[in-house]
């Protein structure tokens, strides 16, 4: 790869390497690439011109874009005054962004990124923190663990991994020491996770990241053990496959224009077709670029960003995945 992938929004807004507050688009240079596990590469990203990087909350992610696609990757440091942004990328498929990052990106290349963004930050009022990871889900958990060690927070770590691939295992062992519960393979994970969840002191907040099935088990177990939802935080790294959804009509409140959004077509695609520009990157409800304010009406939220309370407030939606109901939805556009 020789030149950065530029989007039109980027070309207008963010010159390379300028200090930008969290959230903007910018270009970073790949300073180093480290092989962490057979299919996991760490990319160390830094501004080409030596400008400072914004600090981030533990558990934040960076949205990285490549040719025609974008994905969110967790930052693995504690986030305080970072000298670089480090992400660990598991190679998932040839076609996806991870395949492109693994095969086509080398040291010195430039990447377009957005963020860091956080929807998975530590709750500083918690008395104890339970960090729960399975597989490559260790990446935001490592960030939490590093921050917990830096600030002296009481922490237990659960790390479920396979016998042959366990990214960051040595680092996690070194940091967590006696506070680590390791589970090797599916059987041990199934056995040990309920024990760990059942034994946490009152006032614990748990943070989990892993495959969808693992997160479902974690949420179900937590509920069965009487944990309120606020104590069961989670970060998805795979956006789930979404249903086509019901057709609906959307109104643009400022211009009064109305469009039909058929089943299987996203609101973002319809806005594109009609020449209404909305910034976007990931197109799967993860990166947070395509937020649009709601002027009126009901929405079906399908993103992985908004909390239950934010959904209830009905102030806005991510138009790449979320939809309207009937003909009620009016957008602040």
């Amino acid at each position: 790869m020789s030149s950065p992938v530029l989007t039109s929004a980027l070309a207008e807004s963010a010159p390379s390497g300028t200090f930008s507050p969290a959230g903007g688009l910018r270009i970073l240079t790949v300073r180093a690439i480290n092989m962490l596990a057979p299919s996991v590469k760490e990319f160390v990203l830094a501004p080409a011109d030596g400008h400072r990087l914004a600090s981030y909350a533990p558990g934040s992610h960076l949205v990285v874009s490549g040719p025609g696609k974008a994905s969110a990757y967790s930052l693995t440091d504690d986030g305080a005054a970072p000298d670089a942004y480090r992400i660990s990328v598991l190679r998932c498929s040839q076609a996806g962004l991870s395949g492109w990052l693994h095969d086509a990106v080398g040291i010195g290349d430039m990447l377009t990124v957005a963020g860091p963004r956080s929807s998975f930050r530590p709750d500083l009022s918690a008395r104890h923190h339970l960090l729960v990871a399975a597989g490559i889900g260790i990446t935001p958990i490592l960030s939490h663990l590093r921050a917990a060690r830096r600030w002296g927070r009481s922490t237990t770590v659960f790390y479920g991994h396979s016998a042959d691939t366990a990214p960051h295992l040595d680092t996690v062992r070194g940091l967590a020491k006696a506070d680590l519960v390791e589970a090797v393979g599916r059987k041990q994970i199934t056995e040990k996770l309920p024990e760990v969840l059942a034994g946490q002191p009152f006032g614990t907040v748990a943070y989990a990241c892993g495959p969808a099935g693992f997160l479902q088990a974690y949420t179900r177990l937590g509920r069965e053990l009487g944990w309120p939802e606020q104590r069961l935080r989670q970060e998805h790294f795979n956006a789930p496959e979404l249903e086509a959804g019901e057709p609906f009509t959307v109104t643009l409140a400022r211009s009064g224009r109305r469009f039909l959004v058929p089943a299987g077509t996203s609101l973002l695609d319809v806005l594109d077709t009609q020449g209404v520009e909305v910034p976007r990157m990931c197109r799967k409800g993860v990166c947070g670029q395509c937020y649009v304010g709601i002027a009126a009406g009901a929405a079906v939220h399908r993103d992985l960003i908004l909390s239950a309370a934010e959904r209830d407030s009905n102030r806005g939606l991510y138009c790449c995945v979320s939809r309207g109901v009937g003909d009620t939805l009016a957008l602040d556009l």
């Binding site: 008395r127 002191p201 009152f202 006032g203 614990t204 053990l225 009487g226 309120p228 606020q230 104590r231």
Partner: protein, 179 residues
């Protein structure tokens, strides 16, 4: 300064106690039901009945009305620290004691949704003095003027309650006078 002390918009931090005790949230697995004073016992019995019927583990704690609020608070803080996640607290008693004990439970990580509180008596309030940071227990209510037990200032009890400090805000009625 207007003569009356009506707050606009209306003060939202004031507790909204209901006449009958609130229903318990049944999503927990272990419960402690706390009754402070004789008026709270019937409430605690009602809660305990609802919990045992649904097969929840219930621990009952009863305090005589003569036990000081500080003692109840200290005991509940220790009790909460010994619990595991999945625990809920349901507590009835005089407002000042209930708020003080609930603040201690929040301090050890308790969430709003894990606490069910009911006041059986509103006679005594705790008033926090931001000038000297002491708290005065008084038979009074928001709007009244009392003497601070710490610094002796004349404090007006403002219609503002801090859940964390378990006290109403008091402020020096002479604070804005020219020296």
């Amino acid at each position: 300064m207007p003569a009356d002390h009506t707050v606009i918009p209306p003060a939202t931090s004031l507790p909204r106690w209901t006449a009958s005790p609130p229903e318990l949230d049944l999503s927990g697995v272990r419960y402690s039901v706390v009754a402070i004073g004789s008026a709270a016992e019937a409430v605690a019995d009602q809660w305990t009945g609802a919990l045992t019927k649904t097969g929840k583990q219930v621990h009952i704690l009863k305090f005589a009305g003569t036990v000081p609020a500080e003692e109840v608070t200290r005991r509940l803080e220790v009790h909460a620290q010994g619990q595991l996640n999945g625990w809920r607290l349901a507590m009835a008693g005089p407002e000042a004691t209930v708020l003080s004990a609930a603040a201690a439970v929040r301090q050890v990580g308790g969430l709003h949704c894990e606490l069910t509180l009911h006041a059986t008596d509103l006679g005594t309030v705790r008033v926090y003095c931001p000038h000297c940071r002491s708290t005065t227990l008084t038979q009074s209510s928001p709007g009244a003027v009392i003497g601070c037990s710490g610094c002796g200032r004349e404090l007006r009890i403002r219609p503002h309650l801090s859940r964390r400090l378990a006290g109403y805000l008091g402020s020096d009625i002479h604070a804005e006078e020219l020296a």
